[in-house]
């Protein structure tokens, strides 16, 4: 009995590390008491990634080095995850609840005819596996049974804090012997068009996000929100209504169908706080709402609020900051 955790890699400075959600998944998997925790790395198992796994008590890090994996193909990565599951004799595979984590695990589910639960926040019982998972963008939880012999699940982001194991794991790097079938490369990324500086990339990693919604009033109503974001070294985020109306581009959208953010501070201006939006911003450490409606969900769920029109309040804040 053991668990394989799928690790996504992100660049931090000059090196690669296990992503935050991956480390959360490792902590979560360790806490299940479902046997040894193994890792399989989607990408390069750099020393930083292996160190992150060791800190989380991982016994072995499974790595595939097939040249075909240089460019992303979900089906090929699913083959790697399957191979790691066999190598670890795993009866449970956990992946981060990101779009990519959900995608590769769904491939494994489809290939092996296994059950998969997406965006799990809690495990009620390991055998039989009963989990609670986010549905309706996290507004409701579904209790569900995962009945196949090998169980698959992805972890919703920020369901647990990543905590180092009491004793580090050996994190022994083991090479996987995988043959990638050409049919698994039929849908493969042929090229990646890197984002230009100043583009969308700032939103999900920003320490401060200034959000603006319907209260902006129109395409010209975002100047002071952008000015405040600039002043605080943060990024602009908008609600779905703003992108649906074409006031701002979709890549700035925060919500169930946009980006999920977890800044230190989210300043939500003229946003009512519908479920769709809350799904994207609820992981913010502190929320300040600026809204004319004191009863708006965004206000009642916030840590701080100013009751007023964003077009009057934001310029006053900018002025006060420069005083």
């Amino acid at each position: 009995m053991s668990v394989v955790v799928v690790i996504e890699v992100e660049s931090v400075g000059s090196g690669a590390r296990a992503s935050l959600v991956s480390r959360e998944a490792l902590t979560f998997a360790r806490g299940l008491g479902a046997g040894d925790v193994h890792a399989v790395v989607l990408g390069e198992a750099s020393p930083g990634v292996v160190a992150d796994c060791a800190e989380q008590g991982v016994v072995a890090v499974h790595v595939a080095s097939n040249p075909e994996l240089q460019r992303y193909a979900a089906a090929a990565w699913a083959a790697v995850i399957e191979a790691s599951g066999r190598a670890a004799r795993a009866d449970l595979v956990v992946a981060p609840g990101t779009n990519r984590g959900n995608e590769v695990l769904a491939h494994v589910a489809a290939r092996r005819n296994l059950d998969m639960a997406a965006n799990v926040v809690r495990v009620d019982s390991v055998a039989p596996l009963v989990v609670e998972r986010q549905v309706v963008g996290g507004a409701a939880l579904e209790k569900t049974r995962v009945e196949s012999r090998v169980r698959l699940m992805t972890m919703a982001g920020h369901a647990v804090e990543p905590i180092a194991a009491d004793a580090p794991g050996a994190a022994e790097v083991r090479a996987l012997d995988v043959t990638i079938d050409p049919t698994d490369l039929r849908a493969q990324v042929v090229r990646t068009e890197r984002r230009e500086a100043g583009d969308t990339s700032g939103l999900t990693g920003a320490k401060v996000v200034v959000g603006a919604g319907r209260g902006a009033g129109g395409p010209a109503g975002f100047d002071s929100a952008i000015a405040l974001a600039d002043r605080l070294g943060g990024a602009l985020g908008v609600s779905r209504v703003v992108t649906s109306l074409g006031w701002r581009p979709h890549h700035e959208q925060v919500g169930q169908t946009g980006s999920r953010i977890s800044p230190d501070l989210y300043i939500a201006c003229g946003i009512s706080g519908a479920i769709q939006h809350w799904a994207g911003c609820s992981s913010s450490r502190t929320i300040l709402a600026i809204n004319t409606d004191a009863e708006a969900p965004m206000v009642t769920k916030a840590d701080y609020a100013v009751i007023g029109d964003m077009h009057e309040v934001l310029p006053a804040i900018l002025e006060a900051l420069d005083r």
Binding site: E8, A74, N102, E103, A110, A187, H250, T257, V313
Partner: protein
Amino acid sequence: MNILVCIKRVPDPTGEVVLTDDGMAVDGRYAGYTTSAHEEAAVAIAVELAEATSGQVTVLSVGSEDSVEQLRSALAVGAHDAVLVEADADTLGPADVAAAIAEVITTREAAGTAYDIVLLGNDAADTGDFQVGIRLAYALGRPVAAGIQTIAVDGSIATLRGEGPDGTEVYEVELPAVATILEGGVSPKYPSVVGRMKAKKAPLDTVTWTGTAKGSGRAGLTVPPPPPSEVVVLGEGPAAAAKVVEVLTKLGVVSR
């Protein structure tokens, strides 16, 4: 080319979530129903693709008779015909829905209508399983790309683009293929009066799935109670600005 778009009727996610009395489903009676957001984008992509290739768009939904409302909405923005696979969607799991869609595709293919590309939402706004499109692709033996936002077709090759962790990722996939769509690559389409009139008369085929449901494994739903509001109201209007700056300073967002 023939394009199939699969859409789902879901409780409007901008409304409050209310559960049915037995706690087994979301009751959309108060919030109303809509098409899952990513699938609205899938319909828009399909209609544009059909316009560019003189193609046909068929829209399909697995669900109750009420799903006809969402099928008609898709017809009103340019889909040509519709299929309702009548089923109680709440009792089906993602593998069941994929099997039901696959059956329609293979049946129609045997009758002479083959779909070059099948589009679905990346994940449904209500159940959020992230699996139906991918399971469907395997059932059909076709390649699948997920999280796609724009599609262009040249001959038998589809160029699919979506946002990845490092930028826009481009796939070139040989048709027939499956793609799951994320909102954001195309503008939503709104029906015209003429579109609505056409939609009323457009052909709508109702079928039933002959397979046996595996089920979703759902044992019940809960809506976590909202935590008691602990909001600190800093003030009203521009007069609150100084207090806001105090909070920003306390949080370390600005240094004084």
